[in-house]
Amino acid sequence: MEETVVTVAQPTEKRRRRRSASLEKRRARAGYVFVLPFILGVVLIYLPILIDSIWWSFFVRSTQYVNGIPTEIYTPNYFNYYINAFTQSPNFVTTLLASIQELLFEVPAIIIFALFIAVVLNQKMLGRAAFRAIFFVPVIIATGLMDSINGADIATGQTQAGIDDGTGAAAGAGIINALDVQVIFQSMAIGGELVTYVVELVNNIYNIINYSGVQMLIFLAGLQSISPSIYEACRIDGATGWETFWKVTFPMISPMILVNAVYTVIDSFTRSSNPMMVFIDGQTSVDPHYAIAMYWIYFVVVLLIIGIVAAVASTMVFYQRKD
């Protein structure tokens, strides 16, 4: 009797194990099917384009006439384009520094603004639905064409200056004057850099609002995912709104700050109005291969900065363990 039990038990155990393994395999195969479009796209289209682009940056293209027919001749140039960008090009390094500087100014401004607006939009208030609708208009339209329309727009600026001043002739006046802010800040004994930063911030408010739409959405999603019972517990324990924000909301939202910081860096660097993109774009019509080399230098710098930003931001990130 005992022997029969043993012989019966072994095959079922084996069969069960085999079935679960095959299920896992089947699941893995299904996973491949789901990501197949992307894998095919990367292998057949993206990688060739990428490799081509890198390959070309090591060659000089010139047109020569062979028997009267123009033919493109590629001669190896090795790393010369990369070296030239730093040593020969008059504006490459300065533009690169300028665009990094712009980034340093923009990222904190956009993240603080987006977080602030998301917190306010998350509260119950009069006309919240209408404000939400208005605040996400830039997400839809502040890219591509509208970006260049905003950039080229002088008509709106002129009418705006007219509104502020009443005379209609205050050319180039921003929303606020540096002098006004300076007067306020002098009494507080705060350095000049901060004054210029704040003035630039206020005068750039239109751009900052326009570029912070997606970040606002991501913050709003994060705020919605915080459990209301935490806030309830805070209220019972007598925490003020200020304490609740810094001790609860801020740590809970910190993963989103990391995501947004990285997204903002990518978005700011790859936007077509970025000074570096404009500069390299201008180079493309002169010598495309040189421009490609510049793009790759730029891309490496961007990656480095993303790495730094991610490293700095991730030291402050707090992950709540859900399980």
């Binding site: 893995a28 990428l50 070309w56 064409l145 995501v259």
Partner: protein, 358 residues
């Protein structure tokens, strides 16, 4: 004594089957009650905070909307109004000539139809592909899952403008499996002995990029979709499997309907970003040759209608050209705004439900 008694005993004001309204403050009139409430210091602070918050939101909304208002106001001006220094925002002789010129001389409706077709195609394909890829990355363990995720991030980080020369060459002579486009033949070249297919001035380049999940910001869509599907509990699929539903049927009949708000968000993103795109337009569609030209929205912005070109000696040519361009911009985004008004509810809802966590 009597008044104290009155205040402490609640008075039932109205009682129905399901609700009861009780007045705890006795004989106080509504006005007195309001005064009592105002005496509490908290009320004033809350009211002040609410007012400041409301004004702030109003101010930021104004900053967002002002350029649109100014552009719309400017779009009704005549050439004389632009010159007139006393005219600001409100035109003296309102006219529709700028709109008429753009709509009829620039063939706005043709551009509208083309852009609509292109954007719809891109948005639908990109939405489906990012759903599939996002689901595959979120719910399945397979070898190379992490590698695919890294590839998604890489496609997001490298801007397509960095690859423009290469993109252009590849789609002007499209051939699968050409790693380096010169010197090494692709499949089509091996079979027919001719160069690859010229896909410029067609919708094909964007279709091919979309179906591979490689078009503008598709990495972001895949990432968003992945985060969404990660938030869907596994038990849901497991119970479907137990009931005998296969992987694909479960995905299409159970998981996909859950993802509709997120899908609408992504549709909205990709539709409107394709709608206002000018980079791919410049790369694949830019030409002045009417034989090849596919009129798209950016053409409305870059082409000055002939009847509006100011005469020689006109004092504000740059400003007027700019106003015409702004009007074209308004006409370009008008359909988007209309669509947004219908879909904006889903934009927030979709993102809110995603439960994105870094």
């Amino acid at each position: 004594m009597a008044s104290m008694n009155n205040e402490s005993t609640p008075v039932v004001k109205r009682e129905t089957k399901n609700s009861i309204s009780v007045d705890f403050e006795g004989k106080l009139t509504s006005k007195e009650r309001l005064m009592n409430k105002l005496k509490e210091s908290n009320t004033w602070i809350t009211a002040g905070v609410n007012l400041v918050r409301f004004l702030l939101m109003l101010g930021v909304s104004f900053v967002i909307l002002y350029p649109f208002l100014a552009r719309i106001a400017n779009s009704f001006m005549t050439k004389e109004d632009v010159l007139d220094a006393t005219v600001s925002l409100v035109p003296k002789n309102p006219t529709l000539e700028i709109y008429q010129a753009i709509i009829f001389e620039n063939n706005y409706f043709e551009a509208f139809l083309n852009t609509l077709l292109l954007s719809l195609m891109c948005a639908l394909v990109q939405m489906m592909v990012s759903c599939l890829v996002g689901y595959g990355l979120a719910k399945f363990k397979f070898k190379g899952n992490a590698v695919v995720m890294i590839a998604v991030i890489v496609t997001m980080v490298i801007p397509h403008s960095a690859l423009q020369t290469s993109l252009m060459k590849h789609f002007a002579a499209f051939d699968l499996a050409t790693v380096i486009s010169w010197g090494y033949p692709g499949i089509i070249e091996l079979i027919t002995g001719q160069n690859g297919l010229d896909l410029t001035f067609t919708f094909w380049p964007l279709f091919i990029l979309s179906i591979g999940g490689l078009a503008f910001k598709n990495g972001l869509y895949i990432y968003l979709m992945r985060q969404f599907f990660k938030g869907v509990p596994d038990e849901l699929e497991e119970s479907a499997y137990v009931d005998g539903s296969g992987v694909y049927r479960t995905f299409f009949q159970i998981i996909l309907p859950l993802a509709v708000p997120m899908m609408i968000t992504i549709f909205l993103f990709s539709f409107s970003w394709q709608w206002t795109d000018e980079f791919y337009h410049g790369l694949f569609f830019y030409t002045k040759d009417p034989r090849y030209q596919v009129l798209l929205m950016p053409d409305m912005y870059t082409t000055m209608p002939p009847s509006l070109i100011p005469p020689n000696g006109y004092g504000a040519t740059t400003l007027y050209t700019n106003i015409v361009q702004n009007t074209a911009g308004m006409l370009i985004i008008a359909p988007l705004i209309i669509m947004y008004l219908f879909c904006q509810r889903y934009l927030v809802e979709g993102i809110e439900r995603s439960g994105i966590v870094g």
